[in-house]
Symmetry: C2
């Protein structure tokens, strides 16, 4: 069985955009891919070290003049780009979702409908927030990265989240009607 250390590719993909520190990569993931892909610090920093060991990235320590602190800025190598590209070509693994909220609804007969309604309303609220976030991110991206060749792909991925959340929201509202 083939291993799938996806964190490595996530990190390489980010470094293919521009050189970054581990902290910056973490922030980027949180604000741009979080709705379909997340990583924690406990994975990102080791993955960066691993990339350097495998010559997929280089690390340059830089002294910040203003703060007198050292940042580790990672850059992708030609070898790293090759590895990333090879991975990108391969068929994606099927998505495994674990939606605890839906599981609880599925077992809803064992709860009270008050509980079920409460869960639905809560989910609905989080969806409404999510949709607003997508709209904000879209605005920010289209202005801040107007000429970036990556923008097209980022917007497609963003739109996925947006459209799915909209569909979920509609489903939520219709499901709530069934409890009246």
């Amino acid at each position: 069985m083939e291993k799938r250390n996806r964190t490595k590719y996530t990190v390489l993909g980010m470094l293919a955009i521009a050189p970054f520190t581990g902290y910056e990569i973490k922030k980027m993931i949180q604000t741009s891919t979080n709705h379909f892909w997340s990583e924690s610090e406990g994975q990102i920093y080791p993955a960066l070290i691993q990339c350097v060991q495998e010559c997929l990235a280089t690390c340059k320590e830089e002294l910040m003049k203003d703060t007198r602190r050292v940042k580790k800025i990672y850059s992708i190598t030609a070898q790293g780009k090759k590895v990333l590209n090879t991975w990108l070509k391969k068929e994606a693994q099927p998505t495994l979702i674990r939606n605890e909220f839906l599981l609880k609804l599925f077992f809803g007969k064992n709860a009270t409908d008050n509980d079920n309604i409460h869960h639905l309303r809560h989910y609905q609220k989080s969806l409404e927030k999510e949709i607003l976030t997508y709209e904000e991110i879209r605005k920010k991206l289209t202005t801040a990265h107007k000429n970036s060749p990556h923008l097209k792909y980022w917007l497609i991925a963003l739109d996925y989240g947006f459209k799915v959340a909209k569909a979920e929201l509609l489903w939520c509202k219709e499901s709530l009607k069934l409890f009246n």
Copy 2:
């Protein structure tokens, strides 16, 4: 930090419908909750044993007359129902998704558009299959469990998958247009 051994609750939820063997629970998960919740044998069997140890379920070995083989049929206890109900009342943990396909699209600038189109088409096909599966399951459920008090909740959860897949499909088609 609170632990979340969700397999235990999944198993209890299934046993709250009717007594089952581990194998049957596995099958049920595969055919009914798989689009939002999956479990593997390696989790189900230990979880069943754990439930018996914690007095949340009982196990009855039954000899099948025809096959002369022993089945372990598990039933939920009153205590088990209580534990399940308590869990059902609690707020659900937010869903963490890891969609490798979207991650690859997000990094699409580093691949060729041929690769991106190929991934999109592949995803589209799997969505179309998925949608057909939902329609089949709906038919089976509504006839086989016509009078079950669980049916309402099952259909709500099923409809979630159906509506989300439909939205994903639309997004797929629109995204493909961007590559022409």
